[in-house]
């Protein structure tokens, strides 16, 4: 396995969940990757405080909203004034994103532009945390699929995606239908499944995101963020139960192969 060298890890928070402790994630990464510097950058849009630039980003974000999950988005008509204003408030942290789905690859592309040119390198691991929900198009079934993360430059991890993208137990959906038919309180249903899946403002969120941040690190290190081992934090969970097992319930953090890579530390540029 070819291992690339790492110089620095940079964490950005583009509207994160309140339960997410970004300094805690930085500390975790420092503990795991002691030889690599970890920097918390905060809001990436703060690097561009000029009003016209913010308006431009707001317009572009408004134009990458997915209106219909069964139709591939094309950058078409200019977004409405209200949509742009909403995104401007969102960028400035004056409102929170709910119920909006974005194209994950286009969002990543926009975030790419926020990275200083001299740091656009595989030696830098840029990780953007966002509470925007995003999806990517799957050609195989011709529809968008909600995602927890996209890995590249930068890697983007969605706290809303961690709640919404991996499926909940089948039994939950069956009962949810029944609850809705009977007009019963869905909070009661959530209580029945408490702990089984990650929920909004879940106190376990930071611990879960630690594992996803490590997926971003391994993407830069070896080109593959994932592991086949269901007990390894690099496991690409598609079900909430898998996510909870890999990130919180496993007897080990990393499988022997990935644990050894971390221990060797040969990849660190700064010593």
């Amino acid at each position: 396995m070819r291992v690339r060298r790492l110089n620095k890890i940079l964490l950005y928070d583009e509207g994160m969940a309140q339960a997410l402790n970004i300094e805690g994630i930085a500390e975790y990464l420092r503990k795991k990757l002691g030889k690599v510097e970890v920097e918390v950058r905060g809001n990436p849009f703060a690097l561009y405080p000029l009003q016209d630039k913010i308006s431009d980003y707001a317009r572009r974000i408004a134009s990458i909203k997915i209106q219909d999950a069964t139709r591939r988005m094309s950058l078409g008509p200019e977004p409405l004034y209200g949509e742009i204003e909403y995104e401007k408030r969102r960028i400035l942290g004056k409102t929170r994103a709910f119920g909006v789905l974005y194209d994950g690859l286009e969002l990543q592309r926009l975030f790419f532009e926020l990275i200083p040119e001299e740091e656009r390198s595989l030696e830098f691991v840029h990780i953007f945390f966002t509470n925007r929900l995003f999806a990517t198009w799957e050609e195989s079934d011709k529809r968008y699929h909600a995602r927890t993360s996209v890995y590249g430059i930068p890697s983007v991890i969605s706290t809303t995606g961690l709640v919404e993208a991996p499926a909940r137990p089948r039994e939950y959906y069956l009962l949810k239908q029944q609850y809705e038919m009977l007009g019963k309180d869905l909070l009661e249903l959530k209580d029945r499944f408490k702990g089984i899946f990650i929920d909004y403002e879940d106190e376990r969120l930071t611990e879960v995101v630690n594992g996803y941040a490590m997926q971003a690190v391994f993407y830069s290190l070896v080109g593959d963020p994932f592991c086949q081992d269901k007990g390894c934090r690099l496991y690409n969970a598609h079900w909430q139960e898998e996510l909870v097992l890999a990130q919180l319930g496993s007897e080990y953090e990393f499988c022997p192969r990935h644990a050894k890579l971390l221990e060797d530390g040969e990849w660190a540029l700064r010593r």
């Binding site: 592309r109 990517t136 927890t148 890995y151 430059i153 080109g223 963020p225 690409n236």
Partner: protein
């Protein structure tokens, strides 16, 4: 899976390279001489024989 280094054998454009590798519908970035960019913004750029291009595939999770 995600990051692959390719040596260019003969002069060609970025577009020709992408077509040759069947990557036109795959989300990727390219690295050339330390610069990282989206290929569709640089389709006409000429790659010279001997150039080393890194293909960075974007991977989605969950």
């Amino acid at each position: 899976m995600g990051i692959e280094k390719i040596e260019i054998k003969e002069d060609k454009t970025i577009k020709e390279l992408i077509d040759e590798l069947n990557l036109s519908s795959v989300p990727i970035l390219l690295e050339l001489d330390g610069e990282i960019f989206y290929p569709d913004e640089n389709y006409g750029k000429i790659l010279k024989a001997g150039d080393i291009v890194v293909v960075i595939r974007i991977v989605a999770g969950g």
